[in-house]
């Protein structure tokens, strides 16, 4: 199970980094969100993968999954959604004002 996750995380990271290194803004945004998803999977994997139990410890629970990483991932997902939304809006505004979504043609010294 862990090796599958490792491969998936690797692919997400690889694609994310590749997209971030491209010049188009939209690709960069997709890249950052893939990167953060990879990190969330990493967080889950590193905390130990278990199947068949809820992250709740009741009196009669025989097995449970560590709830902490789930809470962490949830928080992190919320934050990354917020940041991605902001990034999208900013990119849209930049495209409107600067007339391009290519990072290279945004260079210049004007204010």
């Amino acid at each position: 199970m862990e090796w599958m996750m490792a491969v998936a995380i690797g692919i997400l990271f690889m694609t994310g980094v590749y997209l971030i290194l491209s010049k188009s803004l939209l690709r960069m945004i997709l890249g950052t969100s893939l990167l953060t998803h990879g990190v969330h999977l990493l967080l889950m994997t590193m905390a130990g993968l278990k199947t068949g139990a809820a992250p709740v410890l009741g009196n009669k629970a025989e097995a449970y999954v560590d709830p902490l990483p789930q809470a962490l991932i949830l928080t992190s997902i919320v934050i990354s959604f917020g940041v991605t939304a902001f990034f999208l809006v900013l990119a849209y505004r930049a495209h409107q004002t600067l007339g391009t979504d290519d990072m290279d043609s945004m260079k210049g010294d004007e204010s």
Partner: protein, 491 residues
């Protein structure tokens, strides 16, 4: 247990939420912001005196004892930073009344301002590494909004870079937290310190330490800081001074905290890295400060120099050096805030940020000129002012630790700071005024604010011994992490 710890976070949070409702009423927003900032200063003062009297304060949220619950910790280091940040941000708030356009004010400027403060104070006070990430994100997303607020072409372009570099470093932060949780099974900083000490810091923990170092120093502008001068130049001068005074300092606080509390078993690797990065930041920041000819960039490169200087204290890591780092950090917050305010006033009265187009300002605005001069001396570290004590402690600590080269680089960077600031003074205030009518701008309010902050800088220098009695308590916790661990884990 002390509920006092949560107030520095609650006050700006509630203020920000309240101000969202009062979007159109700028006057009311200003009044509420001022009152809230004053409250914050008062709370911070009470907090500092409480810590001096009773030792480190902790707050277990929801009554969950560590290591299970989330904990807020106020040691002297964090409390002093909160106090200085509160004072500095109060000054910047007053300055922004006169300098931020009404459009930006209506576009939730004060709301974002207070959310930023939530993130800053929260990062200082939290005792949990994941909460540190969350508060970092709170302050970062406010700073994203503040940096792009207004939407000029320059701002949009620079905020895209700023956003990208911070998203990548935050992603690495979560990855580092994931590895750390896998390796130690805890997120509480005090507990982490114990676990890391038990396991020794070889192998995987060493890698995690380096990952944390990369993340925090990216945010502090210590490592790969090439985005910083451009991004911090884009927003209006009040926002610039907020960033210059507070944002990089939070990253520095995180570096200082993690590498004096958690990853202390194997200083050979990490602290050597820190030393190299400090040297690079001081040299390259110094060269940048000398090379450029517009005010925002020169000041931003000065921020990088001081980040390198504080990191040098951490690299030396003995009592004097850490005390010096704390002292210098406090001095730097206050004086960098003031420096950016004065820079902003000069841009306003000169009508441009290029030094070549200025000149002769001292005839019309002698007070601002001499305040800038005195502040420049304070930042360089001329004795009666506040930069001196911190620098002496840092250099003494560095020499004690056998870091002769780095100490010399530190002293040399002071000359570059002096040169760059005197260049501003010479070109902007002396010489002939360029032709053409300039309208006189009313800067009485801003000048009064800067004068008050300057008095604080001077008092901090002349009363250095009194300040040192607090700073040395902060340094104690950094030198002896056992104090921190005991305070958090005792119940």
């Amino acid at each position: 247990m002390s509920n006092l710890l949560v107030f520095p976070i609650l006050i700006p949070l509630c203020t920000a939420v309240l101000l969202v409702i009062l979007k159109e009423k700028i006057l009311l927003q200003r009044i509420i912001s001022t009152v809230s900032a004053l409250f914050n200063i008062a709370v911070a003062i009470v907090l500092v005196s409480r810590i001096r009297a009773d030792g480190i304060q902790t707050l277990h949220l929801g009554g969950w004892a560590p290591p299970y619950g989330i904990v807020f910790v106020g040691d002297m280091f964090a409390a002093l930073l909160v106090l200085t940040a509160a004072v500095t941000s109060f000054g910047i708030l007053l300055y922004s009344f006169g300098s931020i356009e009404a459009e930006r004010e209506k576009a939730y400027y004060y709301v974002l301002f207070h959310f930023l403060l939530v993130g800053v104070y929260g990062s200082f006070l939290t005792g949990d590494i994941f909460n540190l990430f969350v508060f970092f994100e709170v302050l970062l997303i406010s700073s994203y909004a503040l940096i792009s607020l207004g939407g000029t072409r320059l701002q949009l372009r620079e905020s895209l870079k700023y956003l990208l570099i911070n998203i990548v470093s935050s992603t690495l932060f979560v990855a580092a937290v994931a590895y750390l949780y896998a390796a130690t099974g805890t997120l509480n900083m005090a507990h982490l310190s114990q676990r890391v000490a038990e396991a020794g810091q070889g192998g995987v923990l060493g890698v995690i330490a380096v990952l944390f170092l990369i993340v925090f120093s990216l945010k502090a502008g210590l490592f790969l800081f090439f985005w910083l001068p451009g991004s911090y130049s884009a927003p209006p001068s009040a926002v610039r001074s907020l960033f210059g005074a507070l944002l990089t300092k939070v990253g520095l606080y995180a570096v200082l905290r993690t590498f004096t509390l958690i990853f202390i078993q194997d200083p050979g690797v990490t602290h050597t890295w820190i030393a190299w990065m400090a040297a690079a930041a001081m040299i390259l920041g110094g060269l940048g400060a000398v090379a450029y000819n517009d005010i925002p960039r020169i000041l931003n490169y000065n921020v990088i120099i001081s980040v390198g200087f504080v990191a040098f204290g951490l690299a030396a890591a003995n009592g004097d050096a850490l005390n010096g780092a704390v002292f210098y950090l406090l001095h730097d917050m206050l004086s960098k805030g003031l420096l950016f305010i004065l820079g902003g006033m000069m841009i306003t009265i000169g009508g441009t940020d290029r030094l070549k187009d200025m000149g002769g300002l001292i005839k019309r605005y002698p007070l601002i000129g001499w305040m800038f001069f005195v502040l420049a001396l304070a930042i360089v570290g001329i004795p009666p002012f506040s930069g001196f004590a911190g620098k002496v402690l840092l250099i003494r600590g560095g020499l004690d630790a056998g870091m002769l080269t780095l100490s010399l680089i530190g002293l040399g960077s002071s000359f570059l700071v002096l040169y760059s600031l005197i260049k501003i003074f010479r070109l902007a205030f002396w010489g002939d005024e360029p032709k053409g009518e300039r309208s006189r701008v009313n800067l009485k309010g801003a000048a009064a604010v800067s004068a008050a902050l300057l008095v604080l800088v001077i008092v901090m220098g002349t009363q250095a011994e009194w300040v040192y009695s607090y700073v040395s308590k902060a340094g104690d916790v950094l030198v002896h992490p056992a104090l921190y661990i005991e305070a958090v884990m005792k119940e």
